[in-house]
């Protein structure tokens, strides 16, 4: 078998792996939903491309429409970067099954890096850029300009992809590496939004305009940067695969805090300890918390330093987001991590009920974080204290009960201690996410419209308070319904364990 045939074989294996993912294997609806979502977002990008091209035409004192878009390409790449966390695996993970086969490791790395670089995913922004370019560039400046401009965007997407791979791989060593893109992207966003004029507008426009004009120096330079990123990834991935095979894993536990202060709470105290330990000792769950916290801080910083989010809807959204994101990150997949040891839990009486109670208390306690993060906004008057209180109680008393309903229906085990797997939520989870993120804003707006400020928020607080004082009732109801469905759920957890 020659190298090209081997390359094709490995690439086909990866495609098979994606098509035969257990989540899709058992759930055709999920497969169709994902295809639908893929088409849906493609349609949105298409719409954006067309409307931007038409809307920007002549709107900026004769500045070409594509120059306007070019000035914002860092934002597109930032979104692209973070979306890849959901979608993309690392070459180290992909190569591991082959490390004991007679295939050179370096060859494996090249295969997966090339696959990443030339993946169709890098062309996804084309749904926006192609129609935009056709209308805004090809018609006015010619096809050659359009193709050059598109080439520049494509190379930037590839470079962004390699940056993502680099960071994602470093994250397997230590989560602190997450700060690297947060700081860089934060700086970029700050440079674009904090000053009166976008500081990056000119350099970005110059870069992409150079491609549109087929400036050979810029083309070579960007190719060189992509090649450099490719090589850096190659070195890193290669080293890590070797480490994965030969490493002596550090297994000694550093933190065995006894949390004796929880002993007074009896059984619930023990399940609270379990919940805390699960969050602290498992990479997947830790990463979810870190990402949630990171997003909260990002929104808060942007809100404090700029007026981009000063509109009424955005204020409500950010307030809601801060209160719900930490809970949502884990509660959307409630019981999925417990699927790893569900049999042990089910062999003890009412352990699931106690676990649910502990999760509720723990997630409610986590809500001391958002007021701290939003304190600057409250002090400067950008966000009212009543809004915060309203969303706090509403989250604990209304939104958490909604999220907890998923405990009845979730039946796919999520690994506790692997890198982010890119496992998409199922249809129910996605619908609940959308409900949680947007319906409360509607409720808030209606309440404040009818009752004004602060009575609208007091109404939200009251609604939440009812949910809080009746929490044992609705948790018991969830537990009963879980037990009715227990066989279906246990079978699902078993089937998806270690997948």
């Amino acid at each position: 078998m020659n190298k090209y045939q081997l390359y094709k074989l490995l690439r086909n294996n990866e495609s098979l792996k994606e098509r035969r993912h257990p989540m899709f294997d058992k759930n055709r609806f999920m497969k169709f939903l994902l295809i639908f979502m893929w088409l849906y977002y493609a349609a949105i990008l298409l719409f954006m491309g067309v409307t931007m091209a038409i809307g920007m035409k002549g709107a900026y004192n004769g500045v070409a429409a594509y120059h306007v878009l070019d000035g914002w390409f860092p934002i597109v790449l930032i979104i692209d970067f973070w979306v890849r966390f959901i979608m993309q695996d690392t070459p180290v993970n992909q190569a591991k099954p082959y490390t004991l086969l007679p295939i050179r490791r370096s060859f494996l790395m090249h295969v997966y890096l090339l696959r990443s670089g030339f993946s169709l995913g890098n062309l996804y922004w084309g749904f926006m850029l192609v129609p935009f370019g056709l209308i805004a560039i090809a018609v006015h400046f010619g096809w050659i300009t359009f193709i050059g401009w598109l080439l520049g965007w494509w190379l930037l997407c590839i470079a962004d992809g390699f940056c993502y791979l680099f960071v994602r791989t470093l994250l397997t060593k230590h989560m602190a590496w997450l700060l690297l893109p947060i700081v860089i992207h934060g700086a970029i966003i700050a440079a674009m939004f904090v000053p009166e004029h976008n500081w990056l507008d000119m350099p970005c426009t110059i870069l992409l305009n150079a491609f549109a004009n087929w400036n050979i120096l810029y083309i070579i330079a960007l190719f060189a940067i992509v090649a450099l990123l490719y090589y850096a990834n190659f070195l890193l991935q290669n080293a890590l695969v070797y480490n994965e095979i030969s490493k002596k894993e550090e297994v000694e536990v550093k933190n065995t805090a006894k949390m004796s202060f929880l002993n007074r709470y009896g059984c619930i105290g023990e399940y609270l300890k379990l919940e805390v330990r699960m969050r602290m000792r498992n990479k997947t769950v830790k990463m979810q918390f870190a990402m949630g916290l990171g997003m909260m801080l990002l929104f808060s910083v942007i809100m404090y330093f700029s007026d981009v989010y000063d509109g009424s809807f955005m204020k409500s959204f950010i307030c809601l987001y801060n209160y719900i994101v930490l809970g949502m990150m884990t509660l959307i997949s409630i019981m999925c991590h417990e699927g790893n040891y569900i049999d042990g839990l089910m062999s003890r009486r009412e352990s699931i009920y106690q676990l649910l109670r502990a999760k509720y208390y723990f997630n409610s306690l986590l809500l001391i974080i958002p007021p701290i993060i939003l304190l600057p906004q409250m002090i400067t008057g950008k966000m009212s204290v009543w809004m915060n209180l309203g969303y706090l109680f509403f989250t604990v008393g209304i939104l958490f009960p909604i999220l907890f309903q998923l405990a009845v229906y979730n039946k796919d085990t999520l690994p506790l201690n692997q890198k982010l797997t890119g496992k998409q939520g199922n249809a129910t989870q996605q619908i609940v996410s959308l409900v949680i993120l947007f319906i409360p804003i509607g409720v808030e707006k209606l309440a404040t419209l009818l009752l004004g400020d602060p009575w609208g928020y007091i109404l939200l607080m009251s609604m939440g308070f009812v949910g809080i004082i009746t929490h044992k009732l609705w948790l018991r109801n969830i537990y009963r319904r879980f037990m009715i469905r227990r066989y279906i759920n246990m079978e699902g957890f078993r089937a998806t364990r270690n997948s």
Binding site: V253, G269, N340, Y341, S347, R348, R349
Partner: protein, 239 residues
Amino acid sequence: MNIIIQNLKKNFGDKVAVNIDNFKIHSGEILGLVGNNGAGKSTLFRLILDLIKADKGTVRMTDAFIDINVAETEEWKDWTGAFVDDSFLIDYLTPDEYFQFIARISGKSPEELQQFLEKFQHFMANEILGQKKFIRNLSAGNKQKVGIMAAMLLQPQILILDEPFNFLDPSSQSAIKHLLKKYNEETGSTILVSSHNLQHTVDICPRIALLEDGVIIKDIDNSDGQAQQELENYFEISD
């Protein structure tokens, strides 16, 4: 505590996993379950523990005062201990934390826990407690030990162990045999053990059920150790 199996059937697709008409495990018995791979041993245990749904039939736990269907109530979980596989273990805890967790949620005091752990000192061989390792980082044998001990921690009236001798070194295998027999003598508990190791099964189980394609084809009285030859004949083990 007796276990009564009535018309218990479970299929996975076309394959018959369990098909037992009537079978009673008497209170205080140690029953060994043997059979080839795929015979239905683990499935039977999971049915008894209500971890999978039977297509037909019931599993009941009874004594002079109680008669309950395991699928209809959770009461029986208070007096049942089991270890089937790693999915019973909370692997991000250390063994110490795991034992404390089980003891505390069951209302056992630290002193009672300590007394229990002392009985297993030889079995643990200084490799389980105080090691500051998560259960997931233990060797397969040590995980097995943690699981078995966790199952026995609450002194259950019914103890179910699926292939407890797997992964254990010979000393530990000998230790667990001794512990199980002693536990049965002291408490009169009903113990169900499955194993591929015929010698161990014959050594500790006065009654052995031979499973094939989900059916108990032989119910062997091993009170005088006479099951060995019969089992060797069935499994075609020869010198």
